[in-house]
């Protein structure tokens, strides 16, 4: 080795302890997870692809997976619709409003997931805010069931994951060259048209980045899914937990978590790659 390359690799020495820890506590366990998923029985007898076939041939399992992915997509779309107006107002306002919006976005990001989920139990519960408001206004005759429903779960997850979408969208809008919108305005375009033809296409990479973050976060949000969705809505995280801890069928639980991981990261990477290939926004310029 030349002296230059030795000193360059010596730079990496401080990373060695962490690399060792990662090999032992991250790479090795994941390798074991793959290995265990290839066993036929919970007693680790006989290698086979049985667990994967079991998943693919079981309509219930397939439905659990597709429901989970759909939940992620729905929540991500809802946060997107809320984030653009927030970001547009943020960019157009002065320092006070900007600080206020930043604070409001950081607030849920920093309070614990269980606390945020608990808040939604209070809001959606039988004696909760929505029900008492609707009853006292006389709009509803009797309390409606909002907790333990799909819609309630989507609403709660939308609020809980909103910061993950709002931050990248705001960052994208901040990087947008103000001269472009001013030029469009000077040429007589309406604000709707400016948004649709200038702002939206140029900030799309930020929106896609946020969409993917929220998608992955909402699909894997075990606490909110189980507490707001309730026991009757079974999604991948609780399915994996139930198979691993309840039934103790480790090979099947391992296969489930690998299938789930592949599905989520696969979608994230595929959409990420497609957007880098076809979408040119402020970030690419």
């Amino acid at each position: 080795m030349t002296p230059a390359s030795t000193s360059a690799s010596r730079q990496l020495l401080p990373a060695v302890p962490l690399a060792v820890v990662f090999l032992a506590a991250f790479v090795l366990p994941l390798a074991a997870l793959v290995a265990i998923s290839l066993f036929r029985t919970p007693q680790f007898a006989e290698l086979s692809l049985l667990q994967y076939l079991r998943f693919l041939s079981d309509p219930f399992s397939i439905k659990v997976l597709s429901d989970t992915l759909w939940l992620g997509a729905e929540v991500a779309l809802a946060t997107l619709v809320l984030s653009y107006p927030l970001a547009l107002v943020y960019v157009a306002s002065g320092p006070f409003m900007r600080t206020l919006i930043t604070f409001l976005i950081m607030l849920p990001l920093l309070t614990s997931t269980v606390v945020r989920t608990f808040a939604w139990i209070v809001i959606l519960g039988r004696d909760g805010i929505v029900n008492s408001a609707m009853l006292s206004l006389g709009l509803w005759q009797s309390p409606a069931r909002l907790l333990y429903t799909w819609e309630g779960m989507v609403l709660a997850l939308t609020q809980i994951q909103l910061p993950l979408m709002a931050l990248p969208v705001i960052n994208s809008l901040l990087r947008l060259d103000g001269n472009l919108t001013r030029a469009a305005e000077g040429l007589g375009a309406s604000r709707v048209r400016i948004f649709l033809t200038v702002v939206l296409p140029l900030t799309l990479p930020g929106a896609i980045a946020g969409w993917l973050l929220v998608f992955a976060a909402a699909a894997t949000a075990f606490i909110t899914q189980t507490l707001v969705g309730g026991g009757r809505i079974i999604l991948m995280p609780s399915y994996i937990y139930q198979q691993a801890v309840g039934v103790q069928d480790w090979p099947f639980a391992a296969a489930l978590s690998l299938i789930f991981t592949l599905a989520v990261t696969g979608i994230v990477f595929a959409i990420g790659a497609l957007s880098r290939r076809f979408v040119r926004g402020v970030d690419a310029a």
């Binding site: 990496l12 506590a25 790479v27 547009l88 604000r191 937990y241 990261t265």
Partner: protein
């Protein structure tokens, strides 16, 4: 005139959604704080009367206070470990152009991409296969892995902003490597370290997917305990715990903001 009408509708819609969005962001935190002072025995909103009874009850509930202390200890240990190991790694990797450095960086960042439940399950399986009993130590190890990506990103960003000439200067003026690290490098990357410790602590304290598999009866942590309570019944004590967590986090944010400008660091993430 027609165009200005459309524009007005557009502005109204944007304004209305923004107001709804801001309300949506704020409401749950407020709701939790308000309900924690209820004098009633249910989560009825608005509360029928006001009192501090649930905070008093919380202090007397050993089954909640103990998991909270465990969570604090585990989070402190995981933060320290990930800051030391991750900080050292970030110093080595941030300015290296070697292929090996990029590969290691990708490895250290991957816990962020991977659904954490798969990682939690895989740790449980490995500890079982190797006959390692679950303890606070195994929990800290799992949390450390989850916290490392934040340290790598935030400290790495600080290291990249550091002017390398300053270090060369110090060394050529005869300062030792350790002295240079202590007096030049460390003060200049302090903001990144403080911010990443803050985020790492919150990440560990709030972690569910790893703790779910690795916490046993002796090392029960707060989020899992609260989840278990809420699965069984809608216990108002959880409101008091939530109130405490919200207030402590806000206080922590103010402290971290003073020492390290955390909000800007997190915004950059």
């Amino acid at each position: 005139m027609q165009r200005s009408l459309i524009d007005r509708i557009y502005s109204t819609v944007i304004g209305a959604i923004t107001c709804f969005g801001m309300l949506l962001l704020l409401a749950p935190t407020l709701v939790v704080l308000v309900i924690s002072f209820t004098g009633g025995i249910t989560l009825k909103f608005p509360p029928p009367s006001w009192s501090l009874r649930w905070y008093v009850e919380l202090l007397q509930s050993r089954e909640i206070v103990e998991p909270a202390l465990t969570s604090l200890k585990v989070a402190a240990a995981a933060t320290l470990l990930s800051a030391v190991l991750g900080g050292a790694a970030a110093l080595g990797l941030a300015r290296s152009r070697l292929k090996m450095a990029r590969a290691l960086d990708a490895l250290f960042m991957s816990p962020m991409v991977l659904p954490a439940m798969a990682f939690g399950l895989s740790l449980l399986l490995v500890f079982n296969l190797l006959g390692i009993r679950l303890s606070a130590a195994t929990l800290v190890l799992g949390h450390t892995i989850i916290c490392v990506p934040f340290v790598i990103r935030m400290v790495g960003a600080s290291v990249q902003q550091l002017n390398p000439v300053l270090i060369t200067c110090s060394l050529s003026l005869g300062a030792s490597r350790w002295y240079t690290f202590r007096r030049i490098t460390l003060p200049l990357i302090r903001r990144g370290i403080v911010a990443s410790c803050f985020v790492a602590f919150l990440t560990s304290f709030d972690n569910v997917p790893v703790s779910l598999f690795l916490a046993d009866a002796r090392t029960e942590v707060l989020p899992i305990k609260l989840w278990a309570i809420l699965e069984g019944s809608l216990d108002v004590r959880v409101a008091a715990v939530s109130g405490v967590i919200v207030l402590v986090t806000l206080a922590g944010l103010v402290c971290a903001e003073i020492f390290g400008g955390v909000s800007r660091q997190i915004g950059k993430r």
